[in-house]
Amino acid sequence: MALTVSELTIHHGAICAINNVSFTVPQGQLTAVIGANGAGKTTLLRALSGLNKSTHGHATWNAHNLLHSKPESIVRHGVSHVSEGKAVIPELTVNENLELGAIWRKNKRETRETKDQITSIFPRLGERLNQRTDTLSGGERQMLAIGRALMSKPQLLLLDEPSLGLAPLVVEQIFQTIRDLTTTMGLTVVLVEQNAMGALKIADNGIVLNLGKVAVTGTAQSLIADPQVRAAYLGY
Amino acid sequence: MSSKARRTLLIVQAVIAVGALSLSALPAQALSPRQEVGVTSSAIKLGITLPMKGSASFGYNQLPDAMKAYFSYVNANGGVNGRKVTLVVKDDGYLPKQAIQNTQDLIGKDKVFAMVGALGTANNQAVADAVNLGRRGIPSLFINTGFSGFNNRSAYPTSSTLLPSYIMEAKMISKYVKETYADKKICLLYQDDDFGDDALVGFDKDHGNLTFTSKIAYPSLSQGVAGVPDSWVTKFKAAGCEVQIVFGVSTATLYFVMGAAKAQYGPKWILGSVGADVASINPATIPYIIGATSMSFLPSVVDPKDEYVAKFKEIHATYNSKAKFNSWALIGMNAAFLTVQALKAGGKKLTRASLLAALDSDGAKFANAGLVPLNYSKTSNVGYNGYWFGKFNSAGDLVPNDTFTYTVYTTDSGTGAVEKSSYSRPSMPAKGLPN
């Protein structure tokens, strides 16, 4: 049970967004993928959830081939993707956004249990179940996006820039929640972040992408300690 | 895209266009110029434009097949002076613009000898105006409209109408209504164009002198809008109408009688000649028009003792067996029958001019099924000038009475009186073929 990516290459037309990337994310661990703007972080994540087509390479989760599958079938194999920018549907209510995450699950009782679990993790969502989502604050929306992803009972959670556009206090809160989720629910998490320091602080491992290639990998602590990484990505 | 590239493209396209147009022009150039257009030693080509598809086409679209059936019969029996008659049909969807286009096509591209039986007031007006048949010497025979404006011999030197004018019709209806329904409240629905306006003239003080309790003009095609027929019924009902005259096309008539049935509006119906025959469009509507009054210049299509009806029915059964022999078939075959006589009278050296001259000199004497005289002469291009009145029976056919005895009225488009006619028509030539 691990996410294995090997020799993954993705072209956007003539541009090579991901170039021969290989890594492994061990089960139950939180791996942060950091790198500059345009390093290919989002492309990588979108390929894993089936939104982008890959040119070459392999990616498997639980012996399930993630490439060449559609997003709607990948989610059925326990992989949930929270895409960039508060991935909620503002026209729907909070409850409907959550229900949407479990729409393919047949067992309604289990679904209800999952929802109860999520509203206990995010009590703010529980209070606002019947409100339209566009009445929520930015942080609440991000929580709802994560909650929606959790509704499909994933084992692998792909998070794309959950801190984007949020106030520092809220960011801290979100990161803490992600860390807690990983531990309490036994999730495997890939966290793509611009906010490298914040991400590495909660992560077990880190991968640094540069211009579509893996520049450095290692434990989160070792990356924080790496002077080159510090200089290039952590800003001190 | 750079300007240069664009320019090059434009030039290339122009060259393509030049090539395409001149290539397609070659066969046209090869035609010999001396021959009269549309006539060879073995064939005569005629053209017709009328609605063949769409809401306005019901009934009318049965005319060409009936005409062709008679032409086929004539062709099978030696043709007209050895020439086979063909008819090119074009659909104009009852749109004046399309009628213009079709007529231009028929004359310019198909190169027909003459137009025959073109249909519709607005259409024929637009065509006469735009294509300028008169100046070009192109005959347009037996136009299927009753608009009196066409009966101006100097304005339309090459056109001739077939139907009694709407002014005549309105005058005769006025007389009929005043005699049959004296002191009743009379109401009128009419189409808001020259068709209806012509009728208004016929009803006015100087002509029919009929006064209406209420009258509504509807624009062409608006009858298809939900609620429009309901609004007519509501207004007429509110006015307390007892006799309802309808001067509209058949779809409008159809919508009106159905809407009236829904609102239980039950006046005495008088359905104008143009739109009355809704039953042959949709047999399901027969119950709505049983007992309604209408008029015709041809014998009833179910008349058991009429020699023309019998012969036409027989020819129709052979040459247009798929279609039902109804009033439209009768109208179509009668028009074709007249056309063949005109072509024959035009002589062995048939030209457009000889055809028109023949119609002027012999037209009034042509044999035909009509119970009303034809009025073609050097000074008149008017066809029939009268009607008999009858009612629709339970099968949806218009009959004068149980014994099929017709009382025929005739009049003119001016202020002349409406008179009972003593006209007796020429008898049917042997085998239904003109001499």
């Binding site: - | 046209a28 004046p96 613009k97």
Partner: protein, 326 residues
């Protein structure tokens, strides 16, 4: 600046050459082809006005037929009531339709996508119907617009259709020259900027609303000319000259030409005239049935439309160019 002038000069020569070709052409073809040629030229103007609006300024019109109608009525009324010379009737058509287009454009500039499509569609259905409301417009059978017979100086056997052909072609050439110039001017660049990225254009100081209204106004003026020319070829201005089907077939012509480039306008125009003709000859070959002859053209046009949309969504010109690049 100098370069632009030479370019315009060269373009002018190009158009002059096309005109010359057409002049020679008009002497070879028979009367009927001349009439069809005139129709092609009318469609060139009409389709160009749609391409200008949709391809360059990104607005949709499903109601251009109605704008053509306004131009036609304006020209006819100018002739009947003001007794203006023919060329001034055409100018009147352009101006009146442009003014109407400006008013409509003010409303249109506020509307996007389906709202604009709906409004222009309702215009196409609604506007022609007012003709029967005002007797001055002549009701269903309409009024006549008669450009008269060709001047005698052109020769005795100069037919009326050839005269139509000349007028329509000259008008089309002038319009195309005008449109090409305006598209390479700053207005053309402005429209393209607004179409490709309205936010960026607004930041660059382009008034989006006024840019759209201007495009609508010019497009309408051009459409008005097309309407007057169309009325000339039928000698008649009536609601049935401008039915909803006309708006649709102009949109069709625009797609067949390629909505994004003015350069292909000839293709769509030729197609609109040629396809029904080819279809009817084809159906005459295959079967004797009247029904087939009437139905087949529509089938061919429809099938061609779907094929174009699939195989060359940006139009045949772009398709050719893309092939050359590879």
């Amino acid at each position: 600046m100098h370069k632009v002038k030479t370019l315009r000069f060269k373009t002018g020569i190009g158009f002059f050459l096309i005109g010359l070709c057409v002049f020679f052409l008009s002497n070879v073809v028979d009367e009927w082809r001349a009439f069809q040629g005139a129709t092609v030229a009318v469609y060139v103007v009409a389709i160009a006005s749609i391409i200008l609006l949709t391809g360059y300024s990104g607005q949709i019109s499903l109601g251009h037929g109605a704008l053509l109608g306004i131009g036609a009525y304006a020209a006819a009324l100018a002739q009947i009531y003001a007794h203006l010379p023919i060329w001034l009737c055409f100018v009147t058509a352009v101006l009146v339709t442009a003014i109407f287009g400006a008013l409509l454009g003010v409303a249109a500039a506020r509307l996007s996508g389906p709202y604009l499509a709906g409004t222009t569609l309702a215009l196409a259905v609604g506007l022609p119907s007012i003709a029967s409301q005002f007797s001055i417009l002549g009701g269903e059978q309409g009024i006549s617009f008669n450009v008269g017979w060709p001047p005698l100086s052109l020769g005795a056997d100069f037919t009326q259709y050839k005269w139509f052909f000349w007028i329509a072609t000259i008008a089309a050439l002038i319009m195309m020259w005008f449109l090409q110039n305006i598209l390479s001017s700053r207005y053309g660049r402005m429209w393209r900027a607004v179409k490709s990225n309205s936010v960026a254009a607004e930041l660059a100081g382009i008034g989006i609303g006024s840019s759209k209204v201007l495009a609508f106004t010019i497009s309408s003026g051009v459409a008005g000319l097309a309407g007057a020319l169309l009325a000339m070829t039928t000698n008649n201005v009536s609601p049935s000259v401008f039915p909803l089907a006309l708006s649709f077939s102009l949109a069709t012509g625009a797609v067949l030409s390629g909505v994004n480039t003015l350069g292909g306008v000839m293709i769509g125009s030729l197609a609109l005239v040629a396809i029904p003709e080819i279809a009817s000859s084809a159906s005459n070959l295959w079967s004797e049935s009247e029904n087939t002859a009437m139905i087949l053209p529509e089938l061919i046009v429809s099938a061609l439309l779907i094929l174009t949309v699939f195989l060359a969504p940006k139009g045949p010109i772009e398709k050719l160019r893309a092939r050359h690049r590879h």
